[in-house]
């Protein structure tokens, strides 16, 4: 579990925050950074998250894999954007300061670069946030946290169940596919697409059956231990809010408000230095 979500137990202020707080902050901030394209704001959030990163005592090498992956993803997406719409920035900012002409319709404009900077900033402020969340929050706390921020407890428990059974299903998929190969189900990459898909079904099917059977036994087991009896339920993993938690939530909320209001200040989602 821990390695799956890369949870790194440490003793830091960020770890001490309740899961509910971190989840709320994650959601509030991600919505904040979604609503606006104000470069200054995004830059601000980015700096903030990187500071939090420092506070959390999470070392960069501990999450190097994640970061590297993300970086590649980011570069690719930016390239795609540029290939499809080299003039996107110009359209958005309604001005055109050409730097140089590359080839065909592909020119480099200040607006385009600035737009790419914004896109990159959007990643930069989101990703450390997510990584921070997963690496400082014990998966056991997810469910309780969701419930804390107002999600129906049954749905929260569904999340908990998902986390509970992911490792089992992963191991099961492995065992099933191998035992079927042993009985002659070939799954070579050379197979035609349709055949390949059919073979996948041969493996998926036992997985589905076991999962359906599991759904049955697990729901029996849960009902036998009176799940869903009351309108609410308590959580073993729940932790009381501390002043720090309140503070974090308030700040995040304010940032969301700020980002929304910025839309009006800038008369649009964009901070436009060009006109």
């Amino acid at each position: 579990m821990t390695n799956l979500f890369n949870y790194i137990p440490k003793d830091s202020p960020v770890h001490k925050l309740t899961g509910a707080t971190k989840l709320a902050a994650l959601l509030l901030l991600s919505f904040a950074s979604m609503t606006t394209f104000d470069t200054r704001f995004l830059a601000g959030i980015t700096i903030l998250t990187f500071i939090m990163f420092g506070v959390s005592k999470i070392r960069f090498r501990e999450v190097k894999a994640l970061l590297w992956f993300t970086f590649v993803f980011m570069v690719l997406n930016n390239l795609l954007i540029y290939l499809f719409e080299p003039e996107q920035g110009v359209m958005l900012y309604g001005a055109r300061h050409e730097i140089c002409r590359l080839f065909g319709r592909y020119t480099l404009t200040q607006e385009q670069l600035f737009y790419h900077l914004n896109v990159i900033l959007k990643y930069l402020c989101m990703i450390p946030l997510v990584i921070l969340f997963v690496s400082t929050t014990n998966p056991s706390e997810f469910a309780a946290s969701l419930n804390r921020i107002g999600v129906n407890y049954k749905i929260c428990y569904a999340v908990s169940l998902a986390l509970r059974y992911i490792p089992d299903i992963q191991r099961e998929y492995h065992d099933i596919s191998i035992s079927l190969q042993a009985r002659g189900v070939e799954m070579t990459k050379k197979e035609k697409l349709f055949k390949r898909l059919k073979n996948i079904v041969t493996i998926l099917f036992p997985l589905i059956i076991t999962s359906m059977a599991r759904i049955e036994t697990v729901s029996n087991a849960m009902e036998l231990r009176s799940f869903g009896k009351n309108k609410k339920r308590t959580w073993y993993e729940a932790r009381p809010f501390l002043p720090a938690d309140i503070a974090v939530i308030v700040v995040s909320a304010l940032l969301l408000v700020l980002s929304i209001s910025l839309n009006f200040v800038n008369g649009g989602r964009f901070y436009n230095p060009f006109v």
């Binding site: 390695n3 042993a182 002659g184 036994t217 029996n220 036998l224 009176s226 009351n230 959580w235 073993y236």
Partner: protein, 570 residues
Amino acid sequence: MKKEPVIQFEHFGFKYDAQIEPTLYDINLSVYPGEKILIAGPSGSGKSTLAHCINGLIPFSYYGDATGSLRLNGKETRDMSLFEISKTVGTVLQDSDAQFVGLTVAEDIAFALENDCVPHSEMLERVAEAAATVGVPSVLSHAPHELSGGQKQRVSLAGVIINDVQVLLFDEPLANLDPSTGKTAIELIDDIHRQTNAAVIIIEHRIEDVLHRDVDRIVIVNDGRIVADLPPNEILCSDVLKNCGLREPLYITALKYAGVQITPDMLPQHIEDIVLNENAKALVSDWFENTPPAEQPAKGPVMFQAEHIRFSYANGHEAIRDVSFTVHRGEIMCIIGQNGAGKSTFSKLICGFETPQEGTMLLEGTDISPLSIKERAEHIGYVMQDPNQMISKTMIREEVGLALELDGLPREEIDRIVNDTLKVCGLYPFRNWPVSALSFGQKKRVTVASILSMNPEIVILDEPTAGQDFRHYTEIMEFLLELNRKGVTIIMITHDMHLMLEYAPRAVVFTDGKILCDDTPANILTNPELVKAASLKETSLFTLAVRCGLSDPRQFVQRFIDYDRRVREK
């Protein structure tokens, strides 16, 4: 006992929606507070169904037609809610993995409390308390896959006793537990029974193991009917167990062979305190003297060889540490050892499901490491521990025939083989059923059948008889012997000491990833240090021999087995 029964069946019957014939007929059974009852019966006889009726899953989760009356504390269950019932009846399901719904041990134990909105502080106390009762306080923060089979069992028990119920219901608590873990499980159940004084109902095939601690009554279910409901001492004297195709404790069988008249006043319930007068002892030792030892089968040529195998799982867990051993053509051998010793892992290595980091494996002198999984499977068949993971077709016929289909055999050929295999595995009557409607034991047999249909040279069976009653167990084993006479080499991974004693001339004992010893079952089970080190269980035959003051208890065990074999071959 002039108390009101907690549970009272009166002319109760039940038919699943999907069935034509009822699964339970005219059940009359009363369970009184503080009683301890063992329910035994052939696989598919309706034990789990009976349990579902008691804990309310029938009619609230499984649909069907119930007749007659079933009362909990005088109240008809069909008029109660599932929650009400579960306040009275705590169930530990047949599959302790599915029962484990929490992300960690602590959360799972707390589950029922969480649902009852018990305040956090109180919850912490009661969880700690329950964990202490079942002896898992040290692993509270562990995830399910970090636990051994025995620990999981304890956790599910803790999760049930945490709100004090009047009835504790166990469906095959011993399935897949190694002998000593099983022994401790029974002791644990007994202790909790004493502490809470709840009525305890245990459904189990391993009768002798359950009888390790006293039970008040044994209820025998056969084809959906209760055929006996008597104190153990009386059941053991009658032939009802044998007639229902169940296994009586070995020492009882031995005494009967020796011609000893067993009567209730001999208190045959425990081997330790069964009363053996001089003439009984005399009879036993006479029988011993007059039973010729069978000659040990000669070893065939070496067939399979593993040398210095090492293996660690991706998570760094070193499951196999420098294991070397040989298998001879045409032999039957057992691999035994405690939960988590590495038995299943090792067989997965043999079949190429996993690849060892070090060591070589030779099949008839040729290195098999280059062979693909499929190619190996044509020589070595592996029946996995969990039947559900092997069943990839909806209908029993298709499942058993799958490998043949893929080999492109002609239809009638396939049908012939499939029918034969099904008959052998006692599944012929169900041949046109969907797999989903089978009981656990029946499913297990389907998977055995599906591998046997490929007729490999070596068959590895992981817990072939788990959840099997004695009759089907014997059928399967006799079938394996039949195969074996045809020259098929058979390796069985098992926790069933009877199985090993009766069918395997040789056994290999695993403890945490290493081979502890490699000897005849009789020698292994009569060697106290070994029994302890490998968390096995001394056989009651040995104890009997000692109690009869025989010169050579070890030989006694061996001769009993040989004799027993001859008797059953007749």
